[in-house]
Amino acid sequence: MKKYDAIVIGAGHNGLTNAAYLAKSGLSVAVLERNPYIGGATVSRELYPGWTYSNCSYVCSLLRPEIARDLELPRHGLQVVPYGGGVTFKRDGDYYGNYYDHNRQYREVARHSLRDANAYERYATDVRKQTRLIRPYLLRRPPDPTSLKLRDLRDLAGFARSFTELGEEGLADTLRFWTKSVGDYLNEYFESDVIKAHLGGTGVIGTALGVYSPGTAYVLLHHYMGDMDGNVGSWGFARGGMGAVAAALAKSVKAFGGDIICDADVDRIVVRHGKVSGVALKNGNELPAGIVVSNLDPRRTFLDIMDRDDLPAELVHKAGNFKIRGSSGKLNIALDGLPTFNGLDRNNPLMLGDMHFTDSLERLERAYDDWKAGTWSKDPYVDMLIPTQTDPTMAPPGKHMMTVFVQYAPPRINGGEWTDADRAGFEQSVIDQIAAHSPDFKSLILHCETRTPREIEAEVGLTEGNIFQGELTFDQLLFNRPFPGYAQYRGPVPGMYMCGSGTHPGGGVMAAPGANAAREILRDLRLPDVVPGGYADD
């Protein structure tokens, strides 16, 4: 069996990014993937002939342009097309259109509240201040505040400097922002329910928290800190589906000489004499390697594929308590044509954007109440898009594909496993909600893939189906991600590393954890740093 310098467990987009940089540095690298296909939560598959679904992640903004450019992802086939804008349909038949064009958006907000239209400008500025603070740290390892190493002290000083630049008031704002609920935060700016609901939804996407739970304001920031070609906060579609991100990364890995091996289910990271010595597969094979990198979430990494005997007890305890709760599900729908929505012209640019049907924070909170009660939301919050309006590759001409991300879906139903009947009930609540605003929707449905946390966990291996490989709350961010003392991508055993979304800067199709981890590995090997730092964010 071939001896590799490094083995990456999991061909999620972070595992692939990590492997690309290790291979680029001349290491012999293999990526081992449990599934017959690559991508993890960055995957697209044809489950209904002629239609491609992005089965998990569906929109792109966080993907670091520095990485995409450096690994030549466009040359390897990746194109990301912005969609701009969004809309929230109201129960009274009206809607709020979040136009991409600023003046158009002002007029539209003013239709609901003149004062909110003006307040939006202040809100946008304040959010920009926060994104400016965080963005430079995306492609850096978080400093360890307890370390006395020169590099950490230097990083910390830089960190402190960007905070003090904000001034006393700015600092207070920042702390509030990072700990507040998105509901409270929006209430400080706006009076209109629909505006608050439209903006507030992003504060709970992927998290098992409600709009009034502390910490959700940060989740909103997490969705704003990406960019499309320099437009901070804007989102787009990967042409051909999110699987195109993984496919391009895989080509990059191979171009640098790395191997990607599918159907390779890793049973265990093998530790000998206090050092990593390779991995053992479920089929009994063992692959030796001095470096093993886990793309899995922290729970799986430490509790499933490592022996407790190889780990400090304290770490096992931390991994057990790591917050990684399932909260979301997804419907991918093949449509016979473009559905119409009440009050909206089909040529309106809002049709290209994210659509929602929850018109108040109150309804968002009620949707969360169902999660707490151990069931799916009867009146869910959805983030719905029809990418085939700009992407000709995912459905036949004139036909469409709809992606519907749904909150909330708990990891278990009333303490028990999800059943197929539960899944059908979940699906129905979503379809009914859409149909209430779209008279022809139901008649256009050709096929529907419905994924609850059960399917997401089983197919992608995300514990409880948590989309970010762990909650994005302050206690699990920066130098606390995944745990204090382990935030710099190094595991507890020499030669063992982590590169998944469970590490800084967290979940989303970002490629930053994978790249940052590669930088640390190269550093330990005393190899030159080939991983790009961030562009100056100005």
């Binding site: 064009d101 070609d229 640019p349 001409p397």
Partner: protein, 394 residues
């Protein structure tokens, strides 16, 4: 045209009624005295129509000249740098033409419509120069600019759209080929040409059928996600594809007032357009001299570090200025920061490392960046579908 009539105000192209209806932003510019949109709804979405679906651009204001008669080929062969005899009937050639000093007057496309029957599309007005060149040749020269309406249909689904419109067999048309269809009693000429570097076609029709053509095109294109685009999106696409723009990346020689401001084809990276083996053509002697003595400048495509476009930057080598940038953009599909530069010789060889001195302003504060950049050998965007015959569905 009567003196003082409305006709001396801004003109409208034959598609204007449709264009105006689609131009939600009312973001108008001018082109050769015509009112044309800079953007319709959103510049970026329009750019991505070119790169991901199909985009439509009204290029009616383009200068078009018809050159016919027994000496048409001979006359053009004397005027332009390319060997016109190698551009067969049914083919289109991109070319430049020079003054006697070997300086580029303009670039354009030459359509070989039939035996001794050509159409020249030019950026600058060229009727006077054509007549100069025609001296002693038996040719007729007609300014057809207002008699031919034109639309560019560009992007990966452009072929599928036009096939759906009924242009049977179009998928067999090779790049730089042209063909004819009948369209409601008129002849519709279609060429596989464009200024975007993508798969694309240009449609040429008599103005009275222009609106009908627009309507048919957009009806057929709906399932192929067709969208009109303005000049801003076009500019971004052409920079990404590495295409020069006359008046931006070079000064048309006859409009250069200051000496030394014009450029030869060699200095613009267009040596491939110059057939030195033709015995005579305008500027040949000067170009021969330049070949012997060396050029003053070299055109370079630069890949610039960082994400700040190097608009109007000085290009430095070891701290000294060796050139300037004429066009620059962050290219959204290639994800590259591209600049076109005019560099003093001997700079500009592929692989050379240089520095772009970039200035940009944020909230009234100017920042200067010295961004490393390197000379690249080919454009950052050049997809296989641009050349594929037949092209795929997208």
């Amino acid at each position: 045209m009567k003196a003082g009539s409305d006709a001396t105000m801004m003109l409208r192209t034959p598609f204007h009624a449709r264009v105006a209806a689609a131009c939600e932003l009312n973001d108008w510019g001018t082109w050769k005295g015509y009112t044309t949109p800079r953007a319709y709804t959103d510049m970026e979405l329009e750019y991505f129509a070119i790169r991901s679906t199909a985009g439509v651009f009204d290029l009616s204001p383009m200068n078009k000249y018809r050159i016919t008669g027994p000496d048409a080929q001979a006359c053009l062969n004397r005027m332009v740098t390319r060997d016109v005899s190698r551009i067969g009937v049914g083919r289109v050639g991109y070319t430049v033409w020079c003054n006697d000093a070997g300086q580029v007057m303009d670039d354009g496309t030459l359509f070989h419509l039939g035996e001794n029957d050509y159409r020249l599309c030019a950026f600058a007005r060229a009727i006077d120069w054509l007549h100069w060149c025609a001296l002693g040749f038996d040719v007729s020269i007609v300014d057809e600019s207002d008699e031919v309406a034109a639309l560019a249909v560009q992007g990966p689904t452009s072929c599928a759209t036009l096939l759906a419109m009924g242009l049977e067999g179009l998928e067999q048309l090779k790049p730089f080929g042209l063909t004819h269809f009948s369209f409601e009693g008129e002849t519709l000429m279609v060429s596989r040409t464009g200024f975007t570097g993508d798969l694309g076609y240009e449609l040429w029709i008599a103005p009275r059928q222009a609106e009908l053509l627009w309507d048919r095109l957009f009806a057929a294109g709906e399932p192929y996600l067709i969208k009109p685009f303005g000049s801003d999106a076009l500019d971004l696409a052409r920079i990404e594809a590495g295409f020069l723009q006359a008046g931006v990346d070079f000064v048309p020689a006859e409009s250069a007032v200051r000496s030394g401001r014009s450029r030869s084809p060699f200095e613009l990276g267009l040596a491939w357009l110059v057939s030195m083996d033709k015995p005579v053509f305008n500027g040949r002697r000067a170009l021969q001299r330049e070949q012997a003595q060396g050029s003053r400048y070299r055109f370079a495509l630069l890949d610039v570090d960082g994400n700040k476009p190097a608009h109007h930057s000085f290009i430095l080598s070891r701290g000294g200025k060796v050139g300037t940038v004429t066009s620059a953009a962050w290219c959204p599909t290639a994800k590259s920061n591209v600049a076109f530069a005019q560099l003093e010789m001997p700079h500009g060889a592929v692989g050379e490392e240089l520095v772009a001195e970039i200035y940009y302003q944020r909230e009234l504060q100017w920042t200067r960046v010295l961004a490393p950049c390197r000379v690249i050998g080919s454009p950052v965007f050049n997809p296989p579908r641009r050349r594929a015959v037949p092209p795929g569905a997208f």
